[in-house]
């Protein structure tokens, strides 16, 4: 089921040969549609990630013995929870393609292989956004001491950059780890050190937003340099992943 769309692409190939190969955007959209369709039908990743984040908040509440958190601590808890919940999605990202022949279907199709990277990054990004739609309000409700309303626009901006980095690095690492024997182990082991700069930038940028003295606007705005750091890191890693991704799909 997971490879139907991709196989359709492959099946079209002989007939489409006289025409020029399909454009990258069309391929990416087809692959993204397949990803989302599979996720909608199997509900394999996103509900698990959301549930995991809720249980993590509960665990943090008991482990820290706090009823409410603020500032640095709040930013850290939010970031770590999102990171680990994201890791669940990263581990599952390519498993269906590996087990049910999605890789082969893509290789048979006369399309650019980078399309798969872009589609998977988009898919993982969408999962993360859905996760945050659940996790951030839950966090505000369960643990956060200060009000979220003022900080929300800035927080959305920071989390968008974090999501982008998480999606790029996560997709790359997932592709690297999925064909190893111990993929559930190798994936997080490689991903966590690579995500440390994202964690640094994200938590530092979130920390003033989640403290009680924050009233929105420029006063408590996330340090521009942290946003710049995450953005730059996202960009560089996006380019690296784009450059080396083809070599992961070669056989």
């Amino acid at each position: 089921m997971s490879v139907q769309a991709a196989q359709r692409q492959g099946a079209e190939a002989p007939g489409a040969q006289p025409r020029h190969p399909p454009r990258l955007r069309a391929v990416v959209l087809a692959l993204l549609r397949k990803e989302l369709l599979v996720e909608l039908r199997t509900l394999e990743s996103v509900p698990g990630m959301a549930l995991f984040s809720l249980s993590t908040f509960v665990v943090f509440h008991f482990a820290l013995n706090r009823n409410s958190v603020q500032g640095d601590l709040a930013a850290g808890i939010l970031l770590v929870t999102l990171l680990f919940a994201g890791m669940l999605g990263i581990n599952r990202l390519f498993v269906a393609d590996e087990e049910q022949g999605g890789f082969d279907a893509l290789l048979l199709a006369p399309v650019d292989r980078s399309a798969m990277l872009i589609a998977k990054v988009c898919a993982l990004g969408i999962y993360l956004v859905v996760l945050e739609i659940v996790a951030v309000p839950a966090f505000a409700l369960l643990l956060l001491g200060s009000s979220l309303a003022n900080a929300l626009p800035d927080l959305i901006g920071v989390l968008a950059l974090v999501d982008l980095g998480l999606a790029v690095i996560g997709t790359f690492v997932a592709a690297l780890a999925v064909r190893t024997r111990a993929r559930d182990l190798i994936g997080p082991l490689i991903a966590l050190p690579l995500l440390v700069p994202i964690a640094i930038g994200g938590s530092r940028a979130c920390s003033p937003l989640l403290s009680s003295g924050h009233h929105g606007g420029v006063g408590g705005a996330p340090g521009l340099r942290w946003l710049l750091l995450i953005g730059l890191y996202d960009l560089v890693f996006g380019l690296i992943a784009y450059a080396v991704f083809d070599f992961l799909l070669e056989d």
Partner: protein
């Protein structure tokens, strides 16, 4: 069409060249470590010189006193280690470009050596931190933390290799990892350095070292770079000797090529040699593997 007709010509050409080489056994050819002795002697001399300078020539530092002399061990070791990681990334790029398994082996050995150097850096850095700051580990210290993150990342290199069975794919994935991690090294330093206030002595930054110190530092940097290169070549030589021995033994006993055992080590004969060579003479391919790429 044209490629298939050129194929046999290419393979006979290769075989002819191989026969030529095997007829004139040269020690440098067979054991790769031709200049290893010279290199080793130069390394010993330089290390001795560096230690002598560090202990007797360099002036005592005003605030930290004798302990500061660990600087001549710690900093060169760290610089050489990081340079080794970056070089391993460059070798991995060459591997993906040329698909030559020798580049994979070079990258593998370079990462291996850098990891060992890196653990040395962490240990002597901890000693220095304990001596001058009073703690074995200081989180507010960006250079320390980023170094630890890099070592943690590279520590997954061998498990990654080990858990991929197919040697060709193992080499390819390892190269992808080495390139990414090599690019991560400078990025990570920038990121972590931004995150905390400066505390680590900025030896190569704004503050200028006095002449004798700078000279001693330079000599020990060269000494440790030489040590790295010597160890790197030594391990390459050892691996080649082992493979050669294995190939010879296989040839003598006339057995079929045994199944490859699970290993994180790159195997040279597996992807390039044995597929093109007839089954009877795999030993002929291994001796030439150690030669420098043209």
């Amino acid at each position: 069409m044209s490629t298939s007709s050129r194929q046999p010509a290419g393979s006979t050409e290769m075989r002819r060249r191989r026969d030529e080489r095997s007829r004139q056994p040269d020690r440098r050819q067979t054991l790769y470590g031709g200049s290893l002795r010279t290199l080793a002697i130069a390394t010993v001399v330089m290390i001795g010189l560096a230690l002598g300078l560090a202990f007797f020539y360099a002036p005592e530092e005003a605030t930290e006193g004798f302990l500061q002399r660990i600087f001549y061990l710690h900093v060169p070791l760290a610089i050489v280690c990081l340079a080794g990681f970056v070089a391993a990334g460059a070798m991995a790029i060459m591997h993906l470009r040329t698909r030559d398994p020798r580049w994979d082996l070079r990258s593998y050995v370079a990462i291996h050596m850098s990891l060992i150097f890196g653990i040395g850096v962490l240990i002597c850095g901890s000693i220095w931190a304990k001596g001058s700051w009073g703690h074995w580990w200081v989180w507010s210290e960006p250079t320390l933390v980023s170094f630890l993150i890099i070592i943690l990342l590279y520590a997954t290199y061998q498990p990654l290799r080990f858990s991929i069975e197919d040697p060709e794919r193992q080499a390819r994935y390892a190269s992808v990892f080495a390139i990414t991690a090599g690019a991560f090294v400078p990025l990570n330093f920038i990121a972590v350095r931004l995150s905390t206030a400066y505390l680590h002595p900025r030896v190569l930054g704004s503050s200028k070292l006095p002449g004798p110190m700078a000279f001693t530092f330079l000599i020990s940097l060269i000494a440790f770079a030489l040590l790295y290169i010597t160890l790197w070549r030594f391990e390459m030589t050892a691996k080649h000797a082992r493979w050669q021995l294995k190939a010879l033994r296989r040839k003598l006993s006339g057995e079929e090529i045994p199944a490859r055992r699970r290993s994180a080590e790159p195997e040279l004969g597996a992807s390039s040699g044995s597929s093109s060579a007839p089954l009877g003479e795999p030993a002929l391919t291994t001796p030439m593997i150690g030669r420098q790429a043209p």
